[in-house]
Symmetry: C2
């Protein structure tokens, strides 16, 4: 529009007639990156067309961002002017892709020639084609050029309708000619769309949150990294691949909170690990009672041997005695009385926490220092970070720091702990977070779960927002868990492990079914580990360890559960029964889950599967193999009956086995 009214117009070349529109996937028109994991096939679509009937050729262009040259893949017309092609993003890193299209006169000629019936027209078309092919030859070289010149000559020499037609439509020669198109009038989609490719752990991960200070095998003794190291075989047995530790730094002594969040700490109170920093050090130091940096390194190494990665908590806030407060008072807000402004949301006050002021004049210094905290722990071998309350820090900072770290360390994974408003959570995901906390803890009914997980797996966020769902956290003991007993703990973790490719639990509170809240109406744990040491009896007979181990084994063995892309809900005639399926793209692996959402009563009902989506033929028999119990059921058709007693196992996790033995399989049948 800006160039209207001038002649010659500012259109680069007004003769470019191909149109490229609506390139997908794209997040906000390319303002943010689409996310995938290494090895993914990236499917790209675009709407391409031109005026009239001429034939287009369309190419998907892609490259790793650090490589200046494009790879090109020919796109295929799907109908309705939509074109499609794919490439495999083999390696982690940043990529770009775009689309280029042109009106192809050679293919247009071929297409018209094939449809011509009039003999005179066909003979004329031979001359047009010979000219075109000679032009193609001019762009070729070597043997191809010679063969093309020869083809043009044969076309000129061809006498009679059938000779012209068969010469013109020569498939092998067409293939050669297509290698040398005339692209002088090509149209390029103006945005090089960004794509971030992470390792598979960014999409598929099972997290276990543990307070090392409560990992001691002796009640009352402060736990250490060494204790946490001894806990690794147990965590590996449960099947988790990320061990997430709350902050491991010195804990502030000023304004320290006591047990159960008491305003005044007693002399023996250990304080909250999120009140970071004391005279002993800050975000790059280790709390002395946990051990030394060597102990930490030992834990990281030992975890690695168990197939477990250590995730650290990045909480950008300071206790009043954090060294930053003295060294950089200009990174904080000050009050008129000269004191530093603590965190508050009147009338609530958090006097043990000083937030950073992201409007500091020295914001560049602050950003650099905050980045150096990540860099420090990356240097210690940590590649997974759970970021505490990112929505209370500047969004511009997150976009910069994540991109900067990812450029240097593309294997680093960032989990946003933001339980805040929807648009804010989505923004953080767009800015670069690999994974995001969700509202799962508060989605309980069939309708709530169906709507929420449909939105997560099908809504626009599917290109950038990767859910990581937690049935509990140290801050969240839901009412469902407080009052649902053992069945509630089983069904909530089963839902989490199957609805979402990434999930986590805060343990051992979870597997030991800790369910007493601070007070009525509260979601805080009584005697929360946030403020005191706890001792856990991991060997308790009623522990859910075996059940959780089974869930994680099933996840590992079934690739359908390692992505959310093909999640689909199925109709049930009982609102306490929820049913859903996941499959791999090729339908080779198909999982159907049926969960009784009522922890108190057995429920029965009819499930209506979408057989096509599961790769089952309409009238075939198939086997539903319950991977939790080993039971096998023979089902037929889309509608089948299920009954679930929550006092036993509140969920079926079926692997669909399409091959059912019949009499023809019997040796003697033939």
């Amino acid at each position: 529009m800006a160039d209207a009214g001038r002649l010659p117009p500012a259109v680069p070349d007004g003769r470019a007639r191909a149109v490229v529109d609506a390139v997908r996937p794209a997040v906000d028109g390319g303002r943010f990156a689409v996310k995938r994991v290494a090895g993914d096939r990236v499917d790209v679509e675009a709407q391409c067309f031109t005026d009239g009937h001429d034939i287009l050729r369309v190419m998907l262009r892609w490259r790793e961002e650090s490589v200046p040259t494009w790879n090109e893949v020919e796109m295929r017309a799907l109908g309705n002017d939509v074109w499609s092609a794919s490439f495999v993003a083999a390696r982690v890193g940043s990529y770009r892709y775009t689309i280029v299209a042109w009106v192809d006169h050679f293919l247009t000629w071929r297409d018209e020639t094939a449809r011509r019936q009039d003999a005179a027209d066909l003979l004329l078309a031979a001359r047009v084609g010979a000219d075109l092919i000679e032009a193609v030859a001019g762009r070729a070289c070597g043997e191809d050029a010679m063969r093309l010149v020869d083809w043009a000559a044969r076309l000129r020499a061809a006498g009679g309708v059938e000779a012209v037609r068969s010469t013109a439509l020569d498939g092998a020669m067409t293939d050669i000619a297509m290698r040398y198109p005339d692209r002088t009038l090509e149209s390029v989609w103006p945005v090089e769309l960004p794509l971030v490719v992470e390792r598979e752990l960014a999409r598929y991960s099972s997290w276990y949150e543990l307070f090392p200070r409560s990992a001691s095998d002796t009640p009352a003794r402060h736990g250490t990294f060494k204790d946490a190291e001894r806990r690794l075989p147990y965590i590996a047995e449960l099947g988790f691949d990320v061990l997430y530790l709350p902050p491991i730094h010195p804990i502030g002594r000023e304004k320290r909170k006591g047990r159960n969040n008491a305003l005044e700490a007693g002399p023996d109170d250990v304080g909250s690990p999120w009140a970071i920093g004391s005279a002993e050090g800050g975000h790059k130091s280790i709390h002395r009672q946990l051990g030394t940096i060597e102990d930490f390194r030992g834990l990281v190494a030992a975890a690695k041997r168990h197939g477990i990665e250590i995730a650290l908590d990045i909480a950008y806030q300071c206790a009043p005695d954090h060294p930053y407060v003295k060294q950089h008072p200009n990174w904080f807000r000050s009050r008129p009385d000269g004191s530093i402004q603590y965190a508050e949301n009147p009338p609530k006050k958090y006097q043990d926490i000083y937030p950073f002021n992201f409007e500091s004049e020295d914001w560049r210094g602050l950003w650099a220092e905050l980045k150096s905290i990540f860099d420090f722990w990356i240097g210690e071998g940590v590649l997974v970070f759970r970021v505490d309350n990112p929505h209370t820090k500047s969004f511009a900072f997150w976009e910069w720091v994540i991109a900067a770290i990812r450029r240097e360390h593309p294997d680093v994974i960032f989990l946003a702990e933001a339980f805040t408003r929807p648009k804010v959570m989505h923004r953080l995901a767009k800015l670069g977070y690999s994974q995001s906390y969700t509202y799962y803890a508060w989605r309980n009914t069939k309708r709530e779960l169906t709507e929420y997980f449909t939105e997560l797996s099908r809504g626009p966020g599917r290109e950038y927002f990767r859910p990581n769902v937690w049935p509990n956290t140290p801050d969240i003991l839901t009412e469902a868990l407080q009052f649902g007993g053992r069945p509630a703990f089983m069904l909530r973790v089963a839902l989490a492990a199957t609805l979402s490719a990434s999930y986590g639990i805060y343990g051992p509170a979870y597997e030991l079914m800790e369910q007493v809240a601070l007070e009525a109406g509260s979601e805080e744990y009584l005697d929360s580990e946030k403020y005191q040491l706890r001792h856990w009896d991991l060997g308790r007979a009623d522990s859910l360890r075996a059940f959780i181990a089974a869930l994680n084994r099933i996840r590992r063995e079934n690739p359908a559960l390692r992505t959310n892309r093909r999640l689909q809900f199925f109709d049930t005639d009982n609102d306490q029964l929820i049913a859903y399926g996941k499959t791999t793209d090729d339908l080779e692996n198909a999982i159907v889950c049926v969960v009784n959402l009522d922890p108190h009563h057995a429920h029965a009902g009819w499930i209506t599967l979408d057989l096509g989506a599961l790769g089952i033929e309409a009238d075939a028999q198939y086997q539903m193999h319950d991977l939790l119990t080993g039971a096998r059921y023979r089902w037929t058709g889309s509608r089948n009956f299920v009954q679930i007693d929550p006092q036993r196992v509140p969920a079926h996790i079926f692997r669909v086995r399409r091959r059912v033995h019949r009499e023809q399989d019997f040796d003697y049948f033939l």
Copy 2:
């Protein structure tokens, strides 16, 4: 992303903490303009938020494109981080709008102060506030500055909690302070979104297509502009406001088509008006048998007196004897035998038509000449153009030419006659066409009509694609009209006139119910006016002229029918009955249509209205006033009974009258 890893980062100011996202409306992120008509209230929404709890201020900025300074309107938070504001686009022309937001420390302070309970905190807040207000005063001047300084002083002097609180929350002073915000760290949405505002005719128009050469009152005499002028009172009586004429230029003699599209014309055959150009002239000349340029001017002027605008047909193609062919052979493709390439889509050939070659080396000259055709007729007082087959001309050309003309003549309206694939039609609308032909002719069943008009009124195209629906055209005599008799003609025009703010008919073929096709299975008229003169008996007793006049009167009198924005379909329990409503934004004018889609049989059924959408209270009685027959029905509740005999009138067009007289209205009741 591109700036990651550098310090200082390229963020303009890393301290800017407000986020602006998802500004709506926008077409392809601002690549194309949103469309409105003069006088429209333009509602704009954006998602805006910041980290933490600080209070934002958000402004909608807008301006006419030719004016460099912005107008600003304060946006209002609707909840869920969505903000909204509006402006009235009073004049035709091009506009821009965008959003600016900032974290407002003054409002944040006020908000926190209102929530503070601790006395010491409140006294400290008074000092913080006084400092802030003094800073505000520094940005103000005159009396405002003095009052703000005074306010700060009062705040400092205030003793005691209640005095501080009431001084701090002074509403009048707050209003003054809000005039002088600190916007140094504001965030601006980076795209200045384009908006094109046209006159109301672009959205609401009633078209009548007429061949002037068939307007003679004597059979066999070639009609003229003078004849067309004598037809104006009739067209005005029917209520149309656009009279659209097929091309009025000299008709080619070479390869002229005969009656019923015969390949060879007889000596008396008049040829197709779309075969433009002969030795007598081209696109800027007038076909001699129609009259002179003075006659044409007379027609334009006379039409204007009847409230009718003349629309011309722009068909960018040439008969073989068009002067362009000799003057500018490089604007056409040539064949190896030296002849000019005619239009073809093998095996079909259109030897009477030479298309322009938009890949001509002289494309700049071609574009300029094509634009000058519009300019010529604009100079003759024509401001409405129906463009023939725009999808067979270069898209880049359309974007340029429409913008160029609109800049000089913002009152010009362009209608795209493109019956082609959906993405192509949408692209033309995005490129600037004011209105677009649609698939209406082939949408007959309740489901087809509901889906199509829901897509048109609610889909993304609603911001740029304005449908103009035609039950017939000289090219399209649908099967519905061929075999449905008079009821089909009545119901198809009634649907068109009420479902779409713009519609048109090709007359007098329509009102005289011409229904004989060229042959079985064809949608071509027998003895089509495209190739021969016709004589029409307008006075026929069975003419639909009164019915059509009633439809156009109802459209004029009911603003709800002049827009498609609030179209809503209602459930009916009989698939032959379709029901839908339209209202104005304020619900003052509400129309409900019920149409019997079966031209053969009477149908009855229950209609379920959405009472809320129509502004009717759930348990109120209301009156349905049929504007076609004058009948009035008293309805109650959402579900009511309807019976329609297509042999009488196949449609109800109800005006909803909410006020129903009751005993309380009777003089003696009190």
